[in-house]
């Protein structure tokens, strides 16, 4: 049976997903051409405010996208072997260090999609001690300049931050933190202007920020649609690509239009009553890292238990973490209020656990799958606080600690057994309780 399960692949139904994937590939090859023609290319960590580079029309590649692509192509094990040969540890920071390993390939064109273009500079935020080191080394490997952006820690928090973030973002932060982040943004702009010879145009930036708000508005509409339709119309894997790729391209008209198309396509499916599966019974949400190298793992459970992942949390995140109105008031400050909260929203309680419970309740989620990355300090997420908060709210959590980039460490049979046991002993009994409560 295990062999049969290995044959499953995540099935994509959305035209949007196919379009986004094709766009991403075309974008990457176009980017490589631009770099070959002499443009300077940046390599960014995902939490860097890439809006600045986009406004300046500077090509860039995002670390986590590249790592995910490498993981999907099952290249990471080779990368980490290469690093070990050079005296680096091949067993730490696998989520972030893939590109460093790729830079050590004897023939770099053997990396996915022919390898990265020539990298002229790297930018990361200092949200993790190792990340600074990795980007420092990566820069040396590519002969690139390294621009680090500092990270400040909030002393103030609001448990209902997600109700404030669109319009009252100034109140969500300590003003001094926003001041510090704006100063950091200005430093980045100066660095990029010096490095590339391109000017940062504030008017273009404002236009772009408003395009992003439009994009996130369409994602919010899609979120409301999925929350209220009563069934799951497409798989999480399908939805994830349709959301994340436009998010990498946020600030472009293509990304805004793609978000609109996603909404319209979902609406059409919902209006027609098209379900992802006919026997939907259990609705799960995933937290923590994604299972990149094995997106098809859940299809066995989909068929046996009617298990679906509505994937609404990606839309929630798109709306909560990105939409910032009143841009014109102070555009760089609005951007700071977006990227400055990423670390907190994703990785820190009470932001992530409060939002997780609210999101699961809204989405009528029966259980949560939580992947805690085994060799990453950044991704610890306060997972126990999230798990406790979800369990207290009556939502069972399947928590597993693993390296989501390392296919070799994955034991399909063991994981299948454990997950099946979780469904049988935790999810189904709770589901029956919920159904009984509702029928009263």
């Amino acid at each position: 049976m295990a062999e049969e399960k290995k044959e499953f692949r995540s099935k994509k139904k959305l035209k949007c997903t196919a379009a986004a994937t094709a766009y991403q590939k075309a974008y990457f090859f176009d980017l490589k051409e631009r770099v070959e023609r002499g443009e300077k290319c940046g390599y960014l960590n995902a939490d860097v405010p890439m809006e600045i580079l986009r406004a300046m029309d500077i090509p860039f590649v995002v670390n986590q996208w590249w790592t995910a692509l490498s993981a999907a192509k099952q290249m990471n094990a080779q990368y980490f072997e290469l690093m070990a040969e050079k005296g680096y540890r091949g067993d730490i920071c696998t989520y972030c260090a893939g590109a460093l390993g790729a830079s050590m390939l004897p023939d770099k064109s053997t990396a996915p999609w022919g390898g990265l273009p020539k990298i002229s500079f790297t930018v990361t935020r200092l949200t993790c001690d190792c990340q600074m080191k990795i980007f420092d080394l990566l820069s040396k490997q590519y002969g690139a300049k390294f621009y680090p952006m500092e990270n400040t820690t909030p002393l103030k928090y609001d448990t209902n931050w997600f109700d404030m973030c669109h319009d009252n973002w100034e109140d969500m932060f300590e003003p001094d933190r926003l001041d510090a982040m704006v100063a950091d943004l200005r430093g980045l702009i100066t660095f990029l202007e010096m490095e590339t010879g391109k000017m940062f145009d504030m008017n273009k930036f404002i236009k772009m920020m408003n395009l992003i708000n439009e994009q996130e508005m369409w994602f919010e509409k899609a979120r409301q649609l999925l929350l209220n339709c009563g069934f799951t119309t497409v798989s999480q894997a399908d939805l994830t690509a349709a959301i994340l790729i436009p998010q990498w391209h946020r600030g472009t008209e293509w990304a805004r239009d793609q978000a609109k198309s996603l909404y319209e396509e979902l609406k059409e499916r919902v209006d027609k009553g098209e379900k992802q599966i006919p026997n939907e019974r259990i609705r799960m949400e995933s937290k923590g890292r994604g299972l990149w190298f094995n997106q098809g793992f859940f299809q066995y459970f989909e068929e046996k238990y009617g298990l679906v992942f509505p994937g609404i949390s990606h839309l929630t995140f798109a709306s909560h973490a990105y939409m910032r109105n009143n841009v014109e008031k102070d555009p760089l400050r609005a951007l700071a209020a977006r990227y400055g909260i990423m670390e907190d929203v994703i990785h820190t309680p009470p932001w992530n656990n409060c939002a997780a419970v609210a999101d699961c309740k809204e989405g009528d989620i029966d259980a949560v799958m939580y992947i805690v990355s085994s060799n990453c300090m950044l991704a610890v997420d306060g997972s126990n606080f999230q798990i406790n908060e979800l369990e207290r709210a009556g939502i069972p959590v399947f928590a597993v600690r693993l390296d989501p980039t390392n296919a070799k460490a994955w034991n399909q049979d063991e994981m299948t057994k454990m997950f099946e046991e979780f469904i049988e002993t935790r999810v189904l009994p709770r589901k029956r309780e919920k159904e009984a409560e509702r029928s009263k």
Partner: protein, 388 residues
């Protein structure tokens, strides 16, 4: 492990060792006298500010903790065992009465998470008795904008501590406290100078006691004891053993250095927080206090975890030359492996000046003196003997 007779016969060393061994003794005395005791986590909480307010800063440590079952309810396995042990003492109620507050600095990304976790425990777990937390968010990237930010952070800390004390902390208070800390640092620097060079007179374990005890007692009393000890220590017998520079996980007990000494080596310097970094760089008493304090914590000997690789490598080479270390030992415990990113470059740079290196990672905590570990250490020490 056992200390040399020269150390054991010195009453100042014995007094320092008592403070090192019974780490809460002074804190208990302060509490009994109705005074304020602040637990600190991280090496960048400005003691000067707390001392200026008439408070006793005491470092939170993990040594001696045998079970981390309470910490395990909150911390993921990604947290290293030293921090897990420290956190255990915070959440098992041990510190609830002893410390009035706990102040955490941004010295590592792990501590940033510890701060947010403690804050969340206060919000969601009212039955868990933890001292109220405060966070000192020092930035380490050496740019002006971050220096200005750090001055803001230190100023805010001064005002907050003033509120705790019930009175404003004046510049004069800060200068007086800074002078006390400077004097203690100077005394430790002079003592540690006896570790360096071709004829060191101090063993690594002895140095750990002298340095570590400063984290648990009044700085002026500590400085006086170290000054007294210095008079004797300058005449201690020369230690004839390979001279080792240790980098890696913090050594808040004597186990590793003791094992190295048993195997014939001697740690003469280190860049972890319970060693030479602790007393490097003074607060400039002629500058505006808030600026001087911020600068001291931002600009001292680089932190292996917070520095750019070139900076750490350059500092390692310079410090190796200054101290006369013959070999660099990287020793790190499981999940505390940031150092591993710097090591290949350190190895290369030190090889250029004829200094040997070795890296021992993935170690457990507390230290387990396995045959494998002993063999690795002994092999390295023997290599250094050959160099001699």
């Amino acid at each position: 492990m056992s200390f040399r007779e020269c150390a054991l016969n010195n009453s100042s060393f014995i007094a320092l060792k008592q403070a090192y061994d019974d780490r809460e003794k002074v804190a208990r005395e302060w509490k009994a006298a109705g005074k304020t005791v602040i637990g600190t986590m991280g090496n960048d909480v400005p003691d000067e500010v707390l001392i200026a307010a008439g408070m006793l800063p005491v470092r939170i440590y993990g040594s001696g903790v045998t079970s981390t079952e309470n910490a395990a309810k909150f911390l993921e396995l990604n947290f290293d065992q030293i921090v897990r042990c420290q956190f255990e003492k915070l959440v098992n109620g041990e510190y609830a009465e002893l410390f009035d507050k706990v102040v955490i600095s941004s010295s590592t990304d792990v501590l940033i998470r510890i701060y947010s976790y403690i804050r969340e425990i206060h919000r969601t777990e009212p039955d868990v008795k933890v001292p109220k937390e405060y966070f000192v968010d020092i930035l380490f990237t050496p740019y002006l904008q971050h220096q200005l930010r750090n001055e803001f952070v230190v100023d805010k800390f001064i005002k907050t501590v003033g509120e705790w004390a019930g009175h404003e902390i004046s510049d004069e208070d800060l200068r007086r406290a800074s002078a006390i800390c400077n004097e203690d640092r100077q005394a430790m620097r002079e003592f540690s100078a006896l570790r360096y060079g071709e004829q060191p007179r101090v063993m690594g374990t002895e140095a750990l006691v002298v340095i570590g005890s400063s984290l648990f007692m009044e700085k002026d009393k500590h400085a006086a004891l170290v000054r007294e000890l210095l008079k004797d220590a300058v005449n201690w017998p020369v230690v004839d053993a390979p001279r080792i520079y240790m980098t890696g996980s913090v050594q808040e007990n004597l186990a590793l250095y003791g094992l190295i000494e048993e195997l014939g080596g001697n740690v003469i310097t280190e860049d972890h927080d319970w060693g030479d970094r602790h007393f490097d760089t003074d607060v400039d008493l002629n500058a505006i206090p808030v600026k001087a304090i911020a600068a001291r914590y931002m600009c001292r000997m680089v932190s292996p975890k917070k520095s750019f690789i070139d900076d750490h490598v350059a500092a390692t080479v310079a410090h190796t030359k200054k101290t006369g270390a013959q070999g660099l030992l990287l020793y790190s415990i499981v999940e505390d492996e940031t150092f591993a990113w710097d090591y290949p470059n350190q190895r290369e740079a030190l090889a250029d000046i004829g200094v040997k290196t070795t890296a021992i990672g993935r170690q457990g905590y507390p230290l387990k003196a396995t045959d494998e570990l002993k063999a690795e250490l002994k092999g390295f020490i023997d290599q250094l003997k050959e160099v001699k």
